[in-house]
């Protein structure tokens, strides 16, 4: 039986464990291998689609051609540098060949894309990972609290709050925090409490530990904004999952046997209720990167999102492909992790 409300696992999950742990592990590895192969095929098709779409989305030399002082020779030089004078299949093959050698090519300014991807990834993950962890803790806690106080003031308060933030666009939350929290605090204290732009102060220096106060000042508002953008749906999900689990037979039995409510909650309700939520969280992590694009823009973080947006606006093929490749890999990876986690967390589910 599959828990309702969770991500419905594929049919091939269900099998009776008949063999030894070694054999079981072998099945898991085979399953992962099959998924990886199919994922790579999806990824390959995605790269072709993205390549063609970006290549036909506009002229990357448009701005140059619009400049009346640009000589035709210069345009020819640039077309040659960017391989625009080559047929599209050749260009795709060149890109994929470079990819197999760990090279993501050069951007429109002739700067290597791979180091840029890693630099911006670190900036984004700094915010996303922290927001993700805190949002999970908050969502699980509030979900449990709301379920336990079902119908009461607390439940209604939490439900109202979660739906409020669910309906509030990220940029509205971000701007509110800037104009009604950061700036008033700056005026009141006469010095900056929370930074509203950038991931770090340009003038900050010293060791990592010396910079921690600066990082905190820059990280707080974007992280809060991102948390408020994602915790709501997880809270609602957690609440319904708890409520559903609370009414299952084994929980009723545990209660009737006189087991302490706290123990029932922790061992019989929460543990089971977390299973579908865990898979949702795993799947949502990649989606969180998408949400970070808006947060990065609002707080002028030069993370992956802004890097991609600026690259796409310049029709920079290699930057666009690198970003989409990165997010596609993340989505596929976390899908795979969710599937695996589902099987590990629910003892009734096995791979074959």
């Amino acid at each position: 039986m599959v828990k309702s409300g969770g991500r419905k696992p594929p049919a091939f999950y269900f099998a009776v464990r008949k063999s030894s742990p070694v054999c079981y592990l072998d099945r898991v590895l085979k399953y992962i291998f099959r998924r990886l192969v199919s994922s790579l095929l999806v990824l390959w098709v995605a790269t072709i689609g993205v390549f063609v779409m970006v290549a036909y989305s506009g002229d990357p030399l448009f701005d140059l051609k619009m400049n009346p002082t640009t000589s035709p020779k210069t345009i020819l030089v640039r077309e040659h540098q960017l391989f625009l004078d080559r047929p599209l299949p050749w260009r795709y093959w060149h890109w994929i060949d470079n990819l197999f050698h760990g090279n993501l090519g050069l951007d429109m300014s002739n700067v290597a894309v791979r180091p840029q991807l890693f630099i911006h990834m670190v900036v984004t993950l700094r915010m996303v990972v922290l927001a993700f962890v805190l949002a999970v803790v908050i969502a699980v806690s509030l979900g449990v609290l709301a379920a336990l106080r079902r119908g009461g003031f607390t439940d209604r308060g939490i439900t109202f709050t979660t739906f409020f933030f669910l309906a509030t666009p990220v940029f509205v939350t971000g701007l509110f925090l800037k104009f009604y929290v950061a700036i008033p605090l700056y005026r009141y204290f006469g010095h900056q409490i929370f930074a509203t732009t950038g991931a770090a102060s340009p003038l900050a220096s010293g060791s990592f530990f010396h910079r921690i106060p600066d990082y905190v000042a820059h990280l707080t508002l974007p992280t809060v904004t991102l948390i408020l953008a994602v915790f709501s749906s997880w809270t609602i999900y957690q609440r319904s999952s708890i409520l559903e689990t609370m009414n299952l037979d084994h929980v009723m039995l545990a209660r009737s046997k006189g087991i302490k409510p706290r123990r029932v909650l922790m061992r019989h309700i929460l543990r089971n209720a977390l299973i579908p939520v865990t898979t949702v969280l795993a799947l949502d992590f990649a989606g969180l990167l998408g949400g970070a694009v808006v947060t990065e823009t609002v707080y002028s973080w030069n993370g992956l999102g802004r890097w991609f947006l600026e690259g796409a606006s310049k029709q920079d093929l290699n930057i666009t492909l690198a970003y989409l490749l990165f997010t596609a890999v993340l989505v596929i990876m976390f899908n795979l992790l969710a599937d695996i986690a589902y099987g590990f967390l629910d003892p009734r589910i096995r791979y074959r």
């Binding site: 140059l64 400049n67 002082t69 210069t74 900056q192």
Partner: protein, 582 residues
């Protein structure tokens, strides 16, 4: 508390000694060679304003001013029928690594920017240059008069200083400067016969030849990690740190700068989205904010920040409606184009768009001069009533004389005689709120004169394909006029005047084109201005495009003194060396 930036220790932003100013850039850039088309950007220019030298700079009046820190003099003469420009380099001028600025830096810039295939980059590839204007007309760049050698010796306890004449270095074929006296401190630039360049003052922004030749023009200045080493300074500030993760560029005072030093100790440029600028100023995140596009929202937000000052002026950029005379045969008729110009109320367009940012904005009545540019003459008197009842009547009067179309009073539209269809033009716009508003007003105005307009939104670049009858876009103007021939001019080939590269409306008139070409070859800048004024007058009778208005440029700042808005593409940091902290 002292903060360390690069190798220089400076106090915090508000410190009394060791001050800093953080300025925003509205976008990112990678690569540091602003003379290459791959790297050239307004944002990079902002960063390099106080670093790279040039004989002249554009001040806030958009005038070329001699940069005496770099050249003691720069003169243009005519010798044997050729224009000859002579630069005398300031003997104190050195790059931040101690190497003197010499004729070699001029020679290298000429070779790289000339577009001449005989000169190639370090790897043998063609130089990728942002612009060849002026350089392709140069015949030679030769140095002379190297700095005298000064030797100091101690003889019998007395210090003896000997000054001796330094000979010209031989140069080498490998660096294309053999026999050109590359160590000369006087530079003689000779233009080709019959090809003078009246805008010579805009030439020779310089790179350090000894570095650029070694690392390469096309790819040697791209890596941010090596930018601090490769981007040498010959200005008041030098690049001290590049933080890619935060798109932040830090500059400190150039210890080898020989001129009047900058007042602020540290300049920082960081990438902040336009929409977040005012909040960042209000929160003390930075002190100077120059948006890429100023909006009414920004001005409203600034009103709520009592410490934020602003300057909004008309920039050397203008919005216009371009006519494509080859897409629809009726657009080829000048009276149709004139009728459209008479039907459009440009004041309404301004009121609905840019007027909300700068209430003083007026319709631009020149094709190539900005209203605040020396040489501007208002040639639009015939269109002063455009869009009003008088203008509409005049427009219909013109259209009534156009063969092939007839006015139908039943639907109040002109119809094409051969098909019976309404006279319809496709208006292309980019889809942003300003352009969409402009397109809708134009559509409504032209309906009044009986012309149907179909608006097509194309966010991507499609100008060169010419698939439109009218298109709204902007041109970045310049104090330099020679570029306009590429926009309005044509080149006669096999008795046909073929539109030049940036002439997207395919307008061609050999006489006007010749006027502009002759102006480009004028012996002086004032003669060039006169030539372009004549071309401007002629264009109003041919109406290849309808100028709408000058776009504004704005700077917002807090806690900084000395900021002066510059209408050119120089950017706010053009005079950062005189900025102060309040």
């Amino acid at each position: 508390m002292a903060l360390t930036v690069g190798a220089i220790a400076v106090p915090s932003v508000s410190g009394a000694s060791g001050t800093s100013v953080i300025e925003t850039l509205g976008g990112t850039f990678t690569g540091f060679n602003n003379f290459s088309s791959a790297n050239n950007s307004f944002y990079l220019g902002q960063v390099l304003n106080q670093i790279l030298p040039s004989p002249f700079y554009l001040n806030n009046g958009a005038k070329n001013v001699l940069n005496k820190d770099i050249v003691k003099s720069a003169t243009s003469d005519t010798v044997n029928g050729r224009q000859v420009v002579t630069y005398v380099i300031n003997p104190k001028a050195v790059w931040s690594d101690g190497v003197q600025i010499t004729a070699d830096d001029f020679i290298y810039m000429f070779h790289a920017s000339s577009g001449d295939p005989q000169y190639t980059d370090v790897d043998g590839s063609a130089f990728d240059v942002a612009g060849t204007s002026g350089y392709e007309q140069i015949a030679s760049v030769v140095g002379s008069t190297p700095n005298p050698t000064v030797t100091t010796s101690v003889v019998k306890g007395k210090t003896k200083t000997t000054v001796s004449v330094t000979k010209c270095e031989a140069g080498s074929n490998a660096t294309d400067n053999a026999g050109l006296c590359p160590n000369g401190k006087t530079v003689t630039v000779t233009f080709q016969a019959g090809k003078p360049y009246p805008e010579w003052q805009g030439l020779f922004g310089l790179l350090p030849a000894h570095i650029s030749r070694a690392v390469g023009w096309n790819s040697g200045m791209q890596d941010p990690a090596s930018a601090v080493q490769n981007i040498l300074s010959a200005g008041p500030y030098k690049l001290s740190n590049v933080d890619q993760a935060n798109s932040t560029y830090t500059e400190v005072k150039n210890p080898r700068w020989w001129g009047k030093p900058g007042i602020i100790d540290t300049l920082v440029f960081t990438n902040v989205a336009d929409t977040q600028g005012i909040a960042g100023l209000g929160n003390g995140d930075f002190q100077v904010f120059q948006p890429t596009t100023v909006t009414r929202d920004m001005l409203n937000q600034a009103l709520g920040q009592p410490d934020v000052a602003k300057s909004v002026i008309p920039a050397y950029t203008f919005e216009h409606l371009d006519f494509n005379i080859t897409h629809n045969p009726f657009m080829a008729n000048v009276n149709v184009r004139k009728a459209i110009a008479l039907g459009i109320n440009r004041n309404d367009i301004i009121a609905a768009t840019v007027g909300q940012v700068n209430a003083k904005t007026k319709p631009l009545n020149s094709f190539m001069f900005m209203a605040n540019q020396p040489g501007y003459v208002d040639h639009g008197a015939a269109y002063v009533n455009a869009g009003t009842a008088t203008g509409v009547a005049a427009a219909k009067n013109l259209l009534n004389g156009v063969p092939g179309i007839t006015y139908s009073s039943s639907d109040q539209k002109y119809h094409v005689d051969s098909t019976g269809d309404p006279l319809t033009f496709v208006l292309q716009e980019k889809g942003n709120i300003t352009r969409s508003t402009e397109a809708q007003i134009i559509q409504g105005d032209l309906k009044k004169i009986g012309i149907t307009v179909t608006i097509v939104v194309r966010s991507n670049a499609t100008l060169p394909d010419g698939n439109f009858d009218m298109v709204i876009f902007g041109w970045a103007g310049s104090p330099l006029l020679s570029g306009w021939v590429n926009i309005y001019g044509c080149t006669v080939t096999n008795s046909v005047c073929v539109p030049n590269a940036s002439n997207y409306g395919n307008f061609s008139n050999a006489a006007v084109s010749n006027t502009m070409s002759d102006a480009n070859a004028a012996s002086s800048f004032s003669a060039e201005v006169s030539g372009y004024q004549a071309a401007d007058t002629a264009l109003w009778n041919l109406m290849p495009t309808l100028p709408l208005y000058q776009s504004p440029t704005a700077i917002f700042w807090t806690g900084v003194g000395g900021i002066k808005n510059n209408p050119t593409q120089a950017g706010a940091s053009w005079n950062a060396q005189v900025w102060t902290r309040n």
